[in-house]
């Protein structure tokens, strides 16, 4: 096989380009050192190809591998994770280019590059990437064509066109397989620890500035589709995430109750007013294992569990887009044992003396009544000139003192933090809750979009035997809660442009685009076992088990393959002799009407035999006379007239034998 022969310079260039193209989308998340290494190696290979020099000897390549490993180790701190793994595959691909001696090596490079393509999907599965991948496959196919073209007579445009045709013929088959191939809930084996990059979004701790930095991101956090058009008003759109309990003077952290501990929630009657909502959330990957929900989730899928802190947990980290249905009902959360009580009142010792004093003063004012104290604190916020801003001043060691007594400028995390702190100082169990507040309806498809810019922090306080939500931001900047982040009087230049723009058209286009994204997320990226079942039900198959799917798949594949084979193979079989082909077409038309051409009957004889027939209509007569004459001229007389040929072809195609009435 010509696996033994050396690929041409053109082929090697194409391979170099292909490898770089497959790695390109991954650059967004790779450390600069790695990108630089890849580019340097690629440039070196380019130089070698262009100047026609030989590849460097094996030991130099080994040195490159060692250097690459060193850089990876420096960037990622370990070599056995997903990120360094992918970077290593790319580097190996590029280094393999230096070792191409036969066509077989070229194939190995192409196949390795396919793995690189696949690793893109860990970071992005958008429709743009899908289109880009299709383009890459076209390039790949044309490289394979070039490798098998031993005389190097094909041109690149020719090959690319061939490849595009190949892709088009392949898309329907791919769709059939995509829809019908049974989806097994993975994973079949475990994922490495660092499987995913840090996602933008909430993390599991909060310190001054952590929510603030999410405000400028218009990235979608999740989308919600409500049932029955019952949608909560803006001020009720509190999407509860996790509870943060431990405070070290700067940062709030999680401190979960054991998994076995159950939440103690009394749900209100479903019939009562608008306190019950049914909805489906489509959540973007977070690399965390908790979900967002309205207070409090009542009905949800069995694979999720409601924790003691009333947070909905999933078994695995969410690394793919998932959808989950919930029915939330208003309720009374009574989850607090005496033993738990302590952890919600702990504060670091010896800090923020000013705040301690303030707390004492407010408690005295409130006569040591919890409710009155809460009101006093909230009044302190509203009356002492506190400002809701995205650019608060930096806080020092005694952050609370600085904020409450001096700067009085902060964002929701400051207020939630300060409020919880003051509650704990008075001995009232209190905790910080982070999640999202708000959401905008997409008028095109009637679903709600919640973005990272809607991230929010608030507080929960144990009062009268139950947890109550208290959001100090509602006191300081009520518009934020009533209307959303763009209406809260915040600095517009910090907010995402998309939300702030006045252009109605831009907003409409953004909604349209998001609609499309949503559908893509649900039906393509989120196409799991459940959605497959749903699709099959839509198509009329009630029970779509794996065996039915496989049967359908086999049938459709067979039918389709045969169809495709017929289509591809028949269209190309026409003889180059158009003239002869159409003459034979005419003869078959005449045959159908009963005029059989004898085996050795020439066109002249045949013509006169037909025209002898008295029953022919004048029109048919004239047509036939023309056709036969044209045929004789072109086929025997070697007349080369494009016009005549076109006329002849047209007349033959349109010809229908008519007899006189």
């Amino acid at each position: 096989m010509n696996t033994a022969s050396m690929p041409t310079a053109d082929n090697r260039l194409a391979l170099l380009a292909f490898v770089n193209l497959t790695a390109l989308p991954l650059y967004a998340g790779m450390p600069a050192a790695i990108i630089l290494l890849i580019l340097v190696l690629s440039a070196w290979q380019l130089l070698l190809i262009k100047t026609g020099r030989a590849n460097p000897p094996k030991y130099i390549l080994m040195l490159c591998v060692v250097a690459a490993c060193a850089i990876l180790f420096y960037s990622f701190r370990h070599l056995l994770g997903q990120q360094p793994g992918i970077a290593l595959v790319i580097i190996m691909c590029v280094l393999k280019l230096f070792e191409i001696n036969t066509n077989r090596d070229a194939y190995i490079v192409v196949y390795s590059a396919c793995f690189v393509i696949a690793s893109n999907f860990f970071y992005d599965q958008s429709v743009w990437l899908a289109i880009y991948v299709c383009a890459l496959i076209v390039v790949m196919y044309s490289i394979l064509v070039s490798l098998s073209d031993r005389l190097h007579t094909t041109r690149m445009t020719q090959r690319l066109r061939q490849s595009a045709v190949a892709l088009i013929y392949s898309l329907p088959l791919m769709l059939i397989l995509f829809v019908l191939f049974p989806r097994i809930p993975g994973p079949l084996w475990g994922l490495p620890e660092d499987a995913y990059r840090n996602q933008t979004g909430l993390s599991e701790e909060m310190s001054p500035g952590s929510i603030n930095q999410l405000v400028s991101s218009s990235a979608i956090a999740f989308r919600v589709k409500f049932d029955d058009d019952r949608i909560p008003p803006h001020h009720e759109r509190y999407w509860r995430g996790i509870v943060l309990t431990q405070y070290d003077g700067r940062t709030w952290r999680k401190d979960d109750a054991p998994e076995s501990a159950l939440a103690n929630i009394e749900y209100s009657d479903p019939g009562s007013a608008a306190s019950s909502y049914s909805y489906e959330v489509t959540l973007e990957p977070t690399n965390l294992d908790w979900l967002l929900a309205l207070e409090y989730p009542h009905t949800f899928a069995g694979r999720y569990r409601l924790s003691r802190e009333a947070t909905l947990y999933s078994e695995d980290k969410i690394n793919n887009i998932i959808s989950y249905r919930i029915e939330s009902r208003a309720g009374i959360n009574r989850s607090l044992f005496a033993q738990e009580d302590l952890k919600y009142r702990l504060l670091p010792v010896g800090r923020n003396p000013g705040t301690a004093d303030l707390a004492s003063i407010l408690m005295e004012e409130a006569d040591y009544d919890a409710r009155a104290y809460i009101t006093a604190v909230l009044n302190y916020f509203s009356e002492q000139g506190f400002i809701y801003t995205l650019s608060p001043d930096l806080l020092g060691e005694d952050a609370m003192d600085d904020f409450l007594l001096q700067t009085r400028r902060g964002f929701c995390e400051h207020y939630a933090s300060a409020f919880t702190y003051l509650m704990r100082l008075a001995g009232i169990p209190a905790r910080v809750v982070i999640g999202y507040q708000g959401g905008v309806m997409n008028p095109l498809d009637d679903y709600m979009i919640v973005r990272q810019s809607d991230a929010h922090a608030w507080s929960e306080v144990w009062l009268d035997g139950r947890w109550r939500r208290i959001d100090p931001t509602a006191t300081i900047a009520p518009d934020r809660i009533e209307q959303g982040i763009t209406s809260a009087g915040l600095e517009l230049n910090r907010l995402p442009a998309l939300l702030v723009t006045e252009f109605g058209l831009l907003k409409d286009m953004a909604f349209l685009y998001d609609s499309f994204q949503n559908r893509w997320n649900q039906w393509v990226i989120g196409f799991d076992q459940e959605r497959q079942k749903r699709l099959m039900q839509l198509l009329g198959f009630e029970q779509a088990g794996a065996s039915l799917l496989v049967t359908l798949l086999t049938i459709l594949l067979t039918v389709f393959s045969l169809l495709m084979a017929w289509l591809v193979l028949k269209g190309r079989n026409r003889s180059t002799d158009t003239i002869q082909y159409h003459y034979e077409l005419l003869c078959s038309k005449l045959e159908r009407k009963g005029f059989h051409r004898a085996v050795n009957e020439g066109p002249r004889d045949f013509e006169s035999r037909i025209l002898d027939n008295k029953d022919l209509s004048g029109h048919s007569r004239a047509e036939l006379a023309f056709i036969f004459q044209a045929y004789r001229k072109m086929h025997y007389g070697n007349v080369r007239s494009a016009k005549l040929l076109a006329e002849y072809v047209k007349k033959v195609r349109r010809f229908r034998l008519r007899l006189q009435a």
């Binding site: 096989m1 196949y111 791919m174």
Partner: protein, 321 residues
Amino acid sequence: MASPQTFLSRLTLPKAFNFIDKRSGPFDGEVSLTRDRVYILPTRMGLLFGVLLLTLLIGSINYEKSLGFMLTFLLAAIGNFALLATWQNIAGLTLRAQPSPAVFCGEDIRFTVQLINDRQVDRHSLVIGQDGADHDVVDCAAGQVSQAVFRVRSTQRGRHQAGRFRLYTQYPTGLFTAWTWVDLSMHALVYPAPSEVKDAELSGDERSGEDDRQGPGQENYSHLRKYHFGDKPNLISWKAAARTDQLFTKSFTGTSPQRYWIDWDDIRADSTEHRLSTMAGMVLQAHEHNHLFGLRLPTQRIDIDSGRAHYHRCLSALALY
């Protein structure tokens, strides 16, 4: 070129494959490659492609990546398309045998096959060969005719049957091999290898060169005459041609050309083959020196004559003895 790495060429075919024998001929000089004559299988790289697909599939299942499925299935579908395209690159071709020139034993016989492409599609990288080796690679554009040549080293005098040869292609993609085995009843004549002629082996009245008559001979240059079609090129006076733009042939006087018989009985040799080789050598020499000669064999006699046709007639007689 290296031998093709397909499965079939490395297996010895069991009895079950006898149907191939029936389908591959022998045909009378021309055959059209219809569906039942073209076979197709994946190449090594094609199998490796399959492994790639399987790996991508398992990875997509494990990491639950929908686009991973999309990639896998798209590659599978395009592999399917490649199968059709490779098949189409060779099927429908018409093969026509061309006559093969005769050679001396020990030389390579060249068998030329005409590939006729009467479709509207270009065909590329068609490889012809025999016994596992590749001999020639050709393209065949739409509506065109190409020639492909495969070679056999001759080891015996006589009529050599080409037998079955193999035409295959891996274009496009190189993931599949589509091939056919065909026997077009091609044959070529192999003359006995000429051996050195020693004077001692000649006998009798072969030489009659003592004549000093004026006549067309080859010893003394006498004059130029106009070129007749068929005159030997080495007798043309090129200097005169350069000067006058017309061709002139040199004419000699001298002794008349030698006339003699190359006779079977006159040659001392150990075996038939040796004798035939010697006679072939003599024929060759006689022809080179433009002598008039005749051939006497136990089974036939060829009268004294000269010229190319006569030369080949004599050698054929020797070959087929």
